[in-house]
């Protein structure tokens, strides 16, 4: 009685093998991240200083800091968010809460997924055609941010829709049965309970926006401006483009400086992701069912 059969023993062994394989794969995933971050810290870390963060580049990019690029990236991200979050959240609300399940809705959903798959250089060329020339924004923060917004819209829409759909249907039915309209139901029950997922999507969008190079290089980013942008119609430096430029275009840039820029850029992205995770943990604690 209770003695292990041959089958039991084999299952047990297979189970251990499976766990070991999955564990090794997980480790394999972590190693590149550690190597990248480690290299950046070791080789770029010495470049970091207050002067590096808060002054403009000097001497053909071979000295000085990154302030205009840092500020420019913030401009680009903020303007892109202002454009994409309202549109993305509203579209997701429509698709998830209002739209009937018909051919048109399915086509729109397919289009969104495809939009997410369009290469960023294609978005860049679209941005040049649409925002720089057709709308006559010129090469500017506005054109670059709108291009980024179009590129990241699917992220916002999909994240928002998923978190809306995670709210149990029974809550909606209960509200509707009390005579609440769809909008009252969304405002009082659905949105408060999906906001954590929506914010997570938005923050992921921020980290993606901050890191993209291709969509901004023809639409508003410039290799060097000594002054900080004053309006959305100015051109600007940006972290990602600055890195591309000093790594491949400028000459005699100290290696330390290049790695320093990369380190700051990845720190921004990782910090945004950390904030996103923190938000999610915090808001999940408030979750009410």
């Amino acid at each position: 009685m209770f003695a292990a059969t041959a089958l039991n023993r084999r299952s047990y062994r297979n189970q251990n093998v499976a766990r070991a394989v999955f564990f090794l794969m997980t480790v394999a995933l972590v190693i590149p991240v550690l190597i990248i971050v480690g290299t950046l810290v070791v080789r770029g870390g010495p470049a970091l200083s207050w002067e590096f963060l808060f002054t403009a580049p000097r001497d053909n990019m071979t000295a000085g800091g990154i302030l205009p690029a840092l500020v420019g990236t913030i401009w680009l991200v903020v303007v892109a968010l202002l454009a994409s979050v309202p549109v993305g959240v509203a579209a997701a609300l429509y698709l998830s809460e209002y739209a009937p399940d018909n051919l048109l809705t399915r086509t729109i959903n397919l289009a969104i997924i495809n939009l997410a798959g369009v290469p960023s250089i294609v978005h860049a060329l679209f941005g040049v055609g649409a925002f720089v020339y057709f709308f006559r924004f010129g090469a500017s923060i506005l054109a670059a941010s709108l291009t980024l917004a179009v590129m990241t819209l699917p992220v916002v829409i999909v994240a928002t829709r998923e978190s809306l759909q995670a709210v149990p249907q029974a809550f909606r039915e209960a509200c509707w049965n009390m005579g609440a309209t769809r909008w009252q139901t969304i405002r009082k029950v659905v949105l408060p309970n999906s906001i954590s997922g929506i914010l997570t999507g938005v923050i992921l969008e921020v980290s993606r926006t901050a890191g993209e190079t291709a969509p901004i290089m023809f639409t508003g980013a410039t290799a060097f401006v000594a002054f900080l942008p004053e309006s959305v119609f100015d051109q600007t430096m940006a972290m990602s483009y600055h890195l591309y430029y000093i790594a491949t275009q400028a000459t005699d840039v100290p290696e330390q400086l290049t790695f320093g820029v990369a380190l700051v850029l990845i720190a921004i992205v990782l910090a945004m992701n950390a904030v996103s995770i923190g938000f999610r943990v915090y808001l999940r604690g408030l979750k009410k069912w």
């Binding site: 009937p100 399940d101 018909n102 029974a170 809550f171 909606r172 039915e173 209960a174 509200c175 509707w176 049965n177 009390m178 005579g179 609440a180 309209t181 009252q184 009082k188 029950v189 408060p192 309970n193 979750k287 009410k288 069912w289």
Partner: protein
Amino acid sequence: MVEVTPGTAVANGVPGPAYDEPPIIEVRDLNIAYGGKTALQGVDLDIYRHEIFGIIGPANSGKTSFLRALNRMDAFNTAMEVRGSIRLNGKNINDWRNEYALRSRIGVVFPLPVGLPLTVYENVAFSPRLRGIRKKAELDEVVERCLARAALWDEVKDRLDSLGSLLSGGQQQRLTIARALSQEPELLFLDEFSIAVDPVTTMRIEDVLKELRSEMTIVLVTNLVQQARRLADRTAFFLMGELVEIGDTEDLFEGKVTDQRTTGYIEGRYG
């Protein structure tokens, strides 16, 4: 507590169903289908004011669909097709310009309690707020009255600010009843409300329902035939999308039926 509505038949001091008045609900040739698949067909019935109208029948016999049609919930489900006529107070429900106003006067209690992810207080204040009640004192009064009527006030009065979903199953079901009452409903639909509720709580809720009958009309869908017998004035038997029989509850239980399938179900031979 018990007040007699004018025109209501009175027996032993307790107002009974107003069979001498025009019915509050008139259903004629009601057909319901989901994406072409019939759920209910050819239903004709009348429900009178201050009546507890029981609906019994096995799963998939169209009971819940019937309630959903009365509530015009087909508006939220594109697959659900409703044909035929349903009149409420003599007026076709499709003639209601504002379907939300219609639903706001119909309280619904589901098989499994759905505590909204809000506090106990906000669960009950939800519908009054939709009606535009803003004053705290007024809301307090409604919340206390409804929770008391649902036999829940004493258990939750010290934790009105905790989440409704943290209550026990039986308490949550009484919370949803309080929420339905907060709509000041003319009609109260109960859809197998006692599935997730213990027997003692069930009996308490049943007592509440008997009292509420003086103020509203109750449609009680139940899979417990004895519950229909305890509560319902008249009972309808639905079977596989068909209204088999409708009659005085006592008559049905005493075997005065026109269709032997009814007796078969009541006596538990199938279902």
